[in-house]
Amino acid sequence: MSAHAKKTVSRPHRAATACLAAALVASVAAPAALAQDFGNQIKARQGLMRVQAANLGVLAAMVRGNAPYDAETARVAAANLAATGTIDQRFFWPEGSALTDAENTRALPEIWEDYADFVAEKEKFTAATVALQAAADSGLDALGPALRGVGQSCGSCHEKYQQSR
């Protein structure tokens, strides 16, 4: 019986139960069929990184001289970045949601070979954004190096766990 057939059941709670059952069956029976099943998790982590990118862009524009430095703008962008660092991402990275099994992701399967190290990389980002938040509204001279520290934490994780384009 396919997941598709189950989804035609009309009552919402039964549909949900059936979907869950179908997902459980699929997770045991057919790993290849999982390709689409992590779509929400992949969108969530990519969405989080887009939120980070949008705030990094605001700060980098000032550091690069493409926008005038404004302490309040820098403070807000740094606070947003630091907020993303406090999110526990455990639900976004289910095993098998790497590019080898799932679509629309550059996540490498090495993430699950040493998941504790992956979490430690995320903690480096959190620490870098805390430092950024402390520095952001005290001028460009403080913002530049702090932003570079955040960039290094991005690269440190992506080097091991993200396929380059």
Binding site: L108, L147, R148, C154, G155, H158, Q163, S164
Partner: protein, 308 residues
Amino acid sequence: MRRFFLVMVLLLSAGGGVAWWLSTPGTLSAAEIATLEAHRPDPADGARVFHAAGCASCHTAPEATADASSGGDTRPILAGGRRLDSDFGTFVSPNISPDPTHGLGAWSLAEFAAAMRLGVDPDGQHYYPSFPYTAYSHMTAADISDLWAFLQTLPPSDRGNTPNEIAFPFSIRRGIGLWKWRYKTDDWVAAAPSETLDRGRYLVEALGHCAECHTPRDQFGGLVKARWMGGAPNPSGRGRIPNITPSALTWSADDIAYYLETGFTPDYDSAGGTMASVVRNLAQLPASDRDAIAAYIKGLAPVADLDG
């Protein structure tokens, strides 16, 4: 019939003789060695060469990357041991730390220069071109001498080398001499009509060896110069190394320089995979060097994407 065999034997042995002669490992001339030794080496300048040439990316042990946050000795330990997959087998990077037994500690400057310029080890054997001497052979004598001085300042490692895993016939090192005769050249690829472009070309073509990943290879592993920087399959087998010629990369020179410094793309994604380690190296160069690389990339001949 006997005459036919005689002619065949003569032709084959003549061919073999030519191949043997062409595949002879080179040696540096006395004049080249004199030029190298006349330079007064500066390890600080050598550090700049080291970062631009990306030595640490392949020669630091995968488990021993320096971590600045630990507050300890952050000098790279060039113990080697990184595996590089290719169509010809797996190469394992050697120990190039100053350890006299397991690294380069007992080498002379001339032996080091022969490795960089000619791709020949102190025993007179060819190195595989996984060691990018096709690029490094363009290095100036001063840069080789400074780099040699800088390497002496790094910590020694007693890690023994791991053999490459290369299948026959590529396991015959002498054959690399024929490969060099076909692919190793003193010529530059791009023109350099300004001082900035000249520096950029030196950083990209001689030190950074960017083309090793960004340019596709033919069936013998030689770079296809007609598709210079036009993108190539990723040697890891996953995905592609991007086309960075102007037909595919539309970033401004300022965007490229900022990316090389921070890893941030214009939409604030951050460089991943092996490019992250390239960024870590290039971040340590003066801004003028990153600007020169960006100018070179903007000036590349456009190469169309193969799949549109």
